[in-house]
Symmetry: C2
Subunit: 340 residues, 2 copies
């Protein structure tokens, strides 16, 4: 990997510590959210809490519910509604993960066997549906049609984005714009909604809602781009998945999009064979990484992520400085710095 500099590496250490402080700030709220999650995933059909517990307990970073918690604080919220809504957001995310793993035929997520690998595809589809319904029950309990509208729309957009990704998944003609549309739908939309809820529960004016939505959107894009780069570079233990999963799945992510467009005809033939035709041999992943490094596309993907980080940072400018804002900015930095 070429994109780790010494200065970045030092900063990463510092940032990781900062994320710990962020955790401490929302620790009590997160405990309450986890209690809601555990409580609402119960069912007399014991396979449901078993399977849901497997994925929910699998060391998820709870980034999305934390966004709802911190954005609520940023808006000065003093109530309890954000706890159940944060749980609803995590349920939607978890349902999506379960269905994703079925669609991607993944067998490892965050370093653990996926639910579909342990129990098969069928319960993963159905427990995903259950968690999705539970998310809506939590929102109904909250009682805000506005919240319901925001998360129902986010859910529809996510599903639409997943279908789009499925279609374009191994099309080597995919360009950067098309790729951004996919990750906007499948990642950034729920980040945006999770953040926006903070302003909604606090009845803040539309411009604050929009600012938080923009922050979440740009954070989400940045987060996904770094994930895409990490898929070709991280150590398995760090990432909780094997290096090269996207490559083996024939997924066209930004590092690849850029390499294909910058490459020569021989290289494009390589990408078509390995990703479109799914004919992969020993050494192909190494060759793919060499091509990404040759064209500097892992570095450039991180550069793109920095751009979205800058936009996200500016979106927060209208809010007063203080602990919650610093926590959000730390999280934003963490998203990039985990690449190191």
């Amino acid at each position: 990997m070429t994109f780790v500099t010494v200065a970045d590496s030092d900063r990463a250490k510092q940032t990781r510590a900062t994320l710990d402080r962020l955790h401490a700030m929302v620790a009590d709220d997160l405990i309450a959210v986890n209690r809601v999650i555990l409580d609402r995933m119960q069912s007399p059909v014991t396979l449901i809490p078993q399977l849901a517990g497997h994925i929910i307990a699998a060391g998820g970073k709870r980034v999305r519910p934390m966004l709802t918690l911190i954005c609520s604080r940023l808006c000065g919220y003093g109530g309890r509604r954000h706890l159940e809504l944060a749980a609803a957001v995590e349920f939607i995310h978890t349902a999506t993960l379960l269905h994703d793993d079925v669609v991607d035929e993944s067998d490892l997520r965050r370093g653990s066997a996926t639910a579909n690998a342990v129990w098969g595809n069928k319960p993963s589809v159905l427990v995903g549906d259950f968690l999705f319904s539970r998310a809506f029950q939590l929102m109904v309990g909250d009682g805000s049609l506005k919240v319901l509208g925001i998360l129902a729309e986010a859910s529809a957009v996510i599903a639409q984005g997943e279908v789009l990704q499925l279609i374009t998944a191994n099309n080597t003609e995919t360009n950067e714009q098309q790729y951004l549309e996919v990750i906007t739908a499948k990642t950034a939309k729920l980040f945006a909604a999770a953040c926006r809820l903070g302003a909604v529960v606090t009845d803040r004016p539309a411009r604050e809602e929009q600012a938080l939505e923009s922050f979440g959107h740009n954070l989400g894009i940045s987060f996904q781009l770094v994930d895409d780069a990490l898929d070709y570079s991280a150590r398995e233990a760090d990432l909780g998945k094997r290096v090269g999963d996207d490559f083996r799945d024939g997924k066209i992510t930004l590092p690849v999009v850029l390499a294909i467009r910058r490459g020569n005809e021989d290289e494009r033939r390589f990408w078509r064979r390995t990703l479109e035709d799914h004919e992969q041999e020993d050494g192909d992943l190494d060759q793919a990484i060499r091509l990404l490094e040759k064209h500097g596309t892992l570095d450039d993907t991180i550069e793109r992520a920095r751009h979205y980080r800058a936009v996200a940072r500016d979106a927060l400018a209208i809010f007063d400085d203080g602990e919650p804002k610093s926590a959000l900015l730390d999280l934003l930095d963490f998203c990039i710095d985990r690449a190191h």
Copy 2:
């Protein structure tokens, strides 16, 4: 088949005609509902309307939305809300079917190839998620938290029932009570919710809501039991699926539950081999049908369905006579009479 009597057969003819009149009664509303369905399944990702259109247009009887339409009329509703809610109910049903077909690995539904058979499992999972989200968007548009609560709960119960069915699917120890729990969740719950909505949109008192819920629940059970009997007896063209699908899938439905419990040890070995161990040979389906007929369990399943029909009929007693009530009673009769 032994359970068709001449008198029943005559009545069936008459009932089918009556269902046509019922269709005529809600024809305009159904056109409006279909327009909402077509409109709301659109997406710039064209695979979504293609795949959704395939299953939605595949000759579904629209039983569930019709229930919402007629029950609204029964309660004297004069507005337009029931149209979008009927569409939401059909979307939830369709999403469930898509995921069902993936879980069951079915390749034929209502006489057409299933979406998963045509496009594969992956888009079926994701388009199901999309339609489910769209259902909630329709409800949010309607604006009633009560409606949202009813359908969110129904969705959670359906998913739970599907998981339960998956676990007990080929357990030959399943008893009638356990089987009823499964079909209550996976079929009757949405029937009950679809009916109850008629009283909810009209702001009718709780006893009318409860009466319609009870009607829908018992109609749903009756409907499912007849389906289970038809799976071993109907001609393919009538049912739109192959005779013996449940048998081939190793599903333990009521005709089988009863036959296992009434059978001797040799017979139980047969059921365990074919349904639990999934070791099926040529002639096994014929043998299964012979055993069901020997113990009269197809007839008895229809008898059980008649019981639930009677309960459903009584549930409607508190409503005034008239066209809508007659239409609901016709539908109830049709559910049983299609067995002939």
